[in-house]
């Protein structure tokens, strides 16, 4: 018979978990493994609340293993390192993102693309190599293989920076990979939420001209005055969209709700690229003509490898790129999830774990 979450590992841990598809969180006692020779153990200080956490809490993707302790934008301070760990020492500030394991041998892994490894292990709700279920950062303690830990830059805020570990890499990676990072390029960002607002910041830092495309005129002022976007398009306004036809080199589409992509493809210049990083559940309609007549492409991208994640954090620290966050205590999480479901946050909640989650 499988051991209970509290008994399966030697170290006591506490977190907040959902137990069923209601997605309601409550305190949860479990345990973490002893620090293996390649592991880094750290005290969690902050954890970002990603929209994926909400999808998983309610098992919207059919992947959830309950009880679920989500959280994959985790920052903290190292408390112990395994005997073969070289990159980290006690006291270091570190981060863990969306994955905690991969096969380390396949083509993807050897090319620093662990996120595309067919055996990649997610930070939560996945089966780890020891057969136990992984628990994420809505908890007081994490133990992770050093390969999947990033070193946090000195003097870079942990609380505000935490969401970069998912939202940051998710938008940084495709901007780089698809060559949408050249100064002077025109880049569109669709959707202004956790991913979108970080995409705007990175795109501006790359020297591109940024247009935010949103269904809601209400976001215009923030987009242009606070986030630094160069222009704003209301996607439901046909006149505005028509005037912007064929003006963008690339688009990062962060919207996870079902939406038409033809109007967005029309915004692309010939040879333009549209990259989806939000993941609508149902297929979208792809009209062939516009794609062909301009030799355009539609691609997807999902987070990034560990090397690139470290590169992204270092880039963000160097250029002072930080998400806009609302810090909350852990016991606010259910309200936060309700608000997140209505996009009522500018633009990421971050749980102050250190102050609000205590091991009794």
């Amino acid at each position: 018979m499988a051991k209970s979450p509290e008994a399966e590992h030697p170290l006591k841990a506490i977190g907040w978990a959902t137990k069923d598809t209601s997605g309601v969180f409550s305190p949860f006692k479990f345990s973490r493994r002893a620090t293996g020779e390649h592991d880094v153990q750290f005290k969690v200080l902050y954890c970002g609340v990603c929209h994926s956490d909400l999808h998983m809490a309610k098992n919207e993707w059919g992947l959830t293993q309950y009880p679920l302790v989500p959280g994959h934008e985790i920052v903290g301070e190292v408390t112990e390192v395994g005997s073969k760990v070289e990159k980290f020492k006690v006291g270091d500030k570190v981060g863990v993102g969306c994955m905690v394991g991969s096969c380390r041998q396949c083509d993807q892994c050897t090319n620093d693309l662990e996120n595309y490894c067919s055996k990649m292990i997610l930070t939560y709700s996945a089966v780890y190599i020891d057969g136990t279920i992984t628990y994420g950062g809505y908890s007081n303690l994490m133990v992770a293989d050093e390969h999947f830990v990033v070193l946090w830059p000195k003097n870079f805020p942990l609380d505000i920076g935490a969401p970069l570990l998912c939202a940051g890499i998710t938008t940084y990676s495709p901007l780089r990979y698809f060559g949408l990072d050249k100064p002077g390029m025109s880049i569109g960002v669709v959707g202004l939420g956790g991913l979108g607002h970080v995409a705007v910041k990175f795109a501006k830092a790359f020297g591109t001209k940024v247009t935010v495309i949103s269904t809601s005129i209400n976001k215009k002022k923030e987009a242009t005055e606070k986030l630094g976007a160069d222009s704003f398009l209301v996607s439901r306004d046909p006149e505005e969209m028509k005037a912007a036809t064929g003006t963008l080199d690339g688009i990062i589409d962060t919207v996870s709700a079902h939406h038409p992509i033809l109007p967005l493809i029309s915004l692309l210049k010939p040879h333009g690229k549209m990259v989806l990083v939000g993941a609508p559940e149902k297929p979208l309609e792809l009209p062939a003509f516009p794609l062909l007549s301009g030799r355009k492409l539609v691609a997807g991208s999902g987070i990034g490898g560990m090397k690139e994640t470290q590169e992204m954090i270092d880039f963000a620290a160097k250029h002072n790129i930080l998400p806009d966050v609302e810090i909350i205590p852990i016991d606010y999480i259910n309200t936060a999830m309700d608000r997140l479901g209505k996009s009522d946050v500018k633009y990421r909640f971050v749980i102050d774990i250190a102050k609000s989650l205590k091991l009794e």
Partner: protein, 357 residues
């Protein structure tokens, strides 16, 4: 109304309404200008686009329409500024006969993507009239849009290269598929697909044909040289081939879901669609995001690349596989084409069958 007032009389077969039925039409073409060549048409390939166009499937046909954009013929006149061709040369004309020539896109030899591109038929020419295509006796074309045919290619069997050939050659180069040893899937085995298989093998790729029809397997492997064949309606075969292909050229002209094809791609794999269904394709997003896969489009190619493609075919002795027909068979040919009953392109023997009344 057919254009009749121009200097050079012309005769062809045209559709006059959405039934798409073709019948003889007398019309005229412009005088041979200083940059023009006049071409006596020998052969013209029958492209699936011709069928879509005569029936106005895409909604922008103006009748009467004389289709045909896979034209091979002999030069009969050359304008005073024409340097590249002389009378008697064997030449080809493909899908485009004009562009602005001055924009950034034209300057990059991508005339096919120029916003002012002029198509060989059913397009607004510079003088405001409609262009007429190769199901006719002669055509008058700016030399920039005329191509040399390598000596060793057959006039009839090379005609389809002028559309089908460049349509698959261009994306295979642009999307980086010409890498020996990589694995290419070709979805759909018709006019475009069979040429893609030939090019794939010439590029040194492993080629798998993906088709709904088991009947095409023997030909695909034994005649066209494909390495393997996958029946896309067989879930077991699809499953066994999951994540094995670096690239897919999707030539299927009917509406279809991209989901099974995307699953065949490896991580970072690329699917390029060159077929033109009249309704949108179904695109699942999860496979794109989880595998960083992409779906790209491509539309013929520029003039420089089209000549490069023809020269490549000359070097590798690549012709299309054709069924030669007379012009008065065209309506039956269209019916068979709609049912994919051709191996793999009809080519009209214009010179021997198109007689003025």
């Amino acid at each position: 109304m057919a254009v009749t007032g121009y200097a050079q009389k012309s005769f062809g077969w045209a559709a006059t309404d959405t039934s798409g039925v073709l019948s003889p039409l007398h019309f005229s073409r412009r005088e041979n200008g200083s940059d023009d060549v006049t071409i006596k048409i020998l052969y013209c390939g029958v492209c699936h686009s011709d069928l879509h166009s005569v029936k106005n499937d895409w909604g922008f046909t103006k009748y009467p329409i004389v289709p045909g954009h896979e034209i091979v013929g002999l030069v009969t006149k050359t304008g005073c500024d024409v340097q590249k061709f002389k009378v008697g040369d064997r030449v080809g004309v493909g899908v485009i006969v004009g562009s602005c020539k001055t924009c950034d896109i034209c300057q990059q030899d991508l005339e096919n993507y120029c916003p002012k591109v002029i198509f060989t038929y059913n397009s607004r020419d510079q003088d405001g009239t409609r262009t007429y295509g190769g199901y006719s006796d002669i055509v008058v074309v700016d030399q920039h849009f005329v191509l040399h045919i390598p000596d060793n290619l057959s006039s009839d069997a090379c005609a389809p290269l002028l559309c089908a050939g460049i349509t698959v050659y261009s994306p295979m180069k642009y999307y980086g598929m010409a890498e020996p040893g990589k694995h290419l899937g070709v979805a759909g085995l018709g006019g475009l697909g069979h040429v893609a298989v030939k090019f794939g093998k010439a590029f040194g790729l492993k080629v798998t044909v993906i088709s709904t029809s088991q009947k095409k397997e023997s030909e695909a492997i034994n005649k066209l040289g494909a390495d393997s064949f996958l029946v896309s309606t067989d879930p077991a075969q699809l499953k066994a081939a999951m994540g094995t292909m670096d690239f897919i050229i999707d030539t299927i002209a009917a509406v279809h879901s991209l989901a099974p094809l995307l699953d065949l791609l490896k991580m970072n794999g690329k699917l390029v669609t060159v077929g033109l269904p009249d309704k949108p394709l179904e695109l699942p997003i999860f496979p794109l995001v989880l595998g960083r896969k992409l779906v790209g489009g491509s539309d013929i190619g520029g003039m420089k690349e089209t000549q490069e493609m023809l020269d490549f075919c000359g070097k590798h002795n690549i012709n299309a596989d054709i069924e030669l027909i007379h012009i008065d068979y065209i309506n039956t040919a269209f019916e068979r084409l709609a049912k994919s009953e051709v191996r793999y392109r009809f080519v009209i023997d214009v010179a021997n069958s198109l007689a003025r009344n």
